[in-house]
Point group: C2
Chain length 327, copies 2
Amino acid sequence: MRISDVARHAGVSPSTVSYVLSGKRSISETTRRRVKESIDALGYQPHAGARSLASRRSNVIALVIPLRGDVHVPVAMRFAVSVVTAARAHDHDVLLLTQGEGPDGLRRVSGSAMVDGVIVMDVEADDARVPVLRELDLPSVLIGVPEDTEGLTCVDLDFAAAGAACVHHLADLGHTDLAFVGQPPSVYERRTGFAERTTTGFERAAAERGVRATLHPCSPDTAHGLAEDLLRERPGLTGLIVHNEPSVGPLLESFAEHGRTPPELSVVAIGPVPPGAPPLTSVDLPAEEVGARAVGLLMDKIDGPGNPGVTLLEPRLTSRESTAPRA
Amino acid sequence: MRISDVARHAGVSPSTVSYVLSGKRSISETTRRRVKESIDALGYQPHAGARSLASRRSNVIALVIPLRGDVHVPVAMRFAVSVVTAARAHDHDVLLLTQGEGPDGLRRVSGSAMVDGVIVMDVEADDARVPVLRELDLPSVLIGVPEDTEGLTCVDLDFAAAGAACVHHLADLGHTDLAFVGQPPSVYERRTGFAERTTTGFERAAAERGVRATLHPCSPDTAHGLAEDLLRERPGLTGLIVHNEPSVGPLLESFAEHGRTPPELSVVAIGPVPPGAPPLTSVDLPAEEVGARAVGLLMDKIDGPGNPGVTLLEPRLTSRESTAPRA
DNA sequence: TTGAAAGCGCTAACAT
DNA sequence: ATGTTAGCGCTTTCAA
C-alpha cells in the first residue's frame, strides 16, 4: 500500500496525494475530497522512513528523561506524559532517551536524522549536554535552566519566585522563624538548577522580610531525624517550607508526635501534594503546562528561527488549611 | 555526509561500507579496518530514514506506558528504563506511546512502519489492545498477562506464585490468621492481570494451608481506615501481606499506633520496598529482568518466528526483620 | 490546479 | 571478497 495506489484509486497523480496530505499547495475541493476518500477507503498510511528521507523531517522528537535515584519519579513522569501528549498534538512522536546515554545519545539521534529536535529534562547548572547541544545545531529546548543560557531555549517554573512566594505568604501571616526543607544533598551537589533557584529565592525573600530562615537538605530517610533536630534546636519555629514531596509525610508525622501540627506549625509545600495527605498550602508544579510549552517552543525552532531565551512560568500559591496566622 | 562519501574515502564501494556496518557478509580484515577508519574519520552516521526505507527495518520499538492514577509510577518507570536500556543493547531505540493513544496509536506506528515491534505494559485481563495486536501482525510482547493468551507473547512476574510464597512463608512461621492488603479497588475492577493473579495465588495457598485469610483492596488514603478496621475486627491477625507499595508506610504507622509492630505483626510486602522504610520481608518485583526479557523476546519475534507463550519469572521471597515465628 | 520525474541515502539481489 | 545497480516510497522542483 503506497502513495501511488491511492493516486490510482483517486484518479490523480502521486504528487497530488502528497500535497493533499501536507497541505503545501492548494488543491481543488473536489480533488481533495476524492483523495481523502481514497485514503480512507484503502486505509493508507505514509511510510515514515520514506517521508523522512524525502522531506528531511522525521516528525519525531527526542525526550531525555532523568533516571537518577534522587529525582522524584512521579513528577518526571508527568513531564514525560505531557510532552508526549503535546507532541502528538503537533503531529510528532517521541523517542525516549535515558540520561544514561548522555551526550552520545544526542549525537546519535541527531546524526542519523532520527529526530527533528530534542527536549532535555533535569538540567544541571553546568550540564554536560549543553555544549553538545550547542555544537549539534539540533533544535532543542531544556526543561530547567543551566548557568549559562546563551543561545538556549529553556522553560521552567520560576522556582526563585516560588521560594519567595512561600516566604511572603508565611511572613504575611506573621511568621518570623522559618525553615526550608529541601531536596536530598546530592541534588544540590550537582547543582540542579531548580533546586538552587528555589533556595536562592527563599533566602532573598527572607532577608527582604527580615525573618529568620534556615536551609535543610533532606531525603525521605533523614526526614525523621531532621524533624527531631528542628524541634530541639528551633523552639520558635512556626513556618515550614518543604520542597521535597516524598518527605512531606514523614516530616509531618514526626512533628505531630511532638504535638506540632498544621496550622499552628504552618506548612507550605512546593510541588504536587501527595494524595491522601492533609490539604497543604502549596505552590504546585505545573508539569503539564511546562511540557506543553517546551513542545511549543521546540516546534517553533524546528519550523523557523524560534524564540531563544528563558521562559519562567509564574508560580501560583494556593492557600489551604496548613497555614494560618501566627498565634 | 553519506555512505558514498565513506566509500570514496576508503576506496571501496558503497555496498561494502553497508556490509561492514551490517555484518551481513564477510569482509576481509583489511577492508573492514579501512572502512571503519573512514567512518570514524568522517564521523559518518547512516540516515535512519533511508535505512528503514531500504531495509524495511526501523530499528525502533514502541513502548506503551500506562498513565493511570492508580498505577504505581516509580515501578512503571523502572520498567520503562529497563526496556530502553535493553533495547539499546540490541541497537534499537524506543518510541514512547501513552495509554491515552490506545489502539489507534498502535495502528499508526505500525502502519507507517515507524517501529519494528511493540511492548505493551499494564495489560488487563480483557485488554482492548490485544485484538488490535492480533490483527496488526506487528511483533509484540506484553508485560502482563491477559485472559486469552492465544498466540501472544507475555512476560511477567509469576504473581500467583508470589502471593502463594507469602502465604507459605507466614504459614511456615506458624501464622494462621492472615490479611492481604491489595491494590486500589479500581485496579481489580478493570481486572488487571497481575493484581488478580496475586490474590488468586494468595487464596489458593491459604486454602491449601488451612489458614484464615481475607482480601482488602486499598489506596493510600484509605490505608489508615483499613488498619483501624482490621484492628477492630481481626484481633487474632498476626500476618499481613501488602501488595501496594505506597500504602505500606501509612499502614504500618496505623498499626504501630496500637502497639502492633513487626515482627509481632508479621509483614510481607510484594513489590519494591520504599527506601527509608524498615527492612521488610518482601517479594521483589524484578522490573529490570522483566524489561530485559520482554525486549529479548521481542527481538526474537522481529528476527524470526519468536517464542509465543507466557513467561512467568519465579518470585523470590527475601526474608527480613519484619517476619518472625508466631508468639 | 495538476502532473511528470528527479532525487533523498541506503540495502540487497545479482554479477563478477 | 567485492562491485554494480535497481529499487524502497515519498517530496518537491519543474513544467504545463
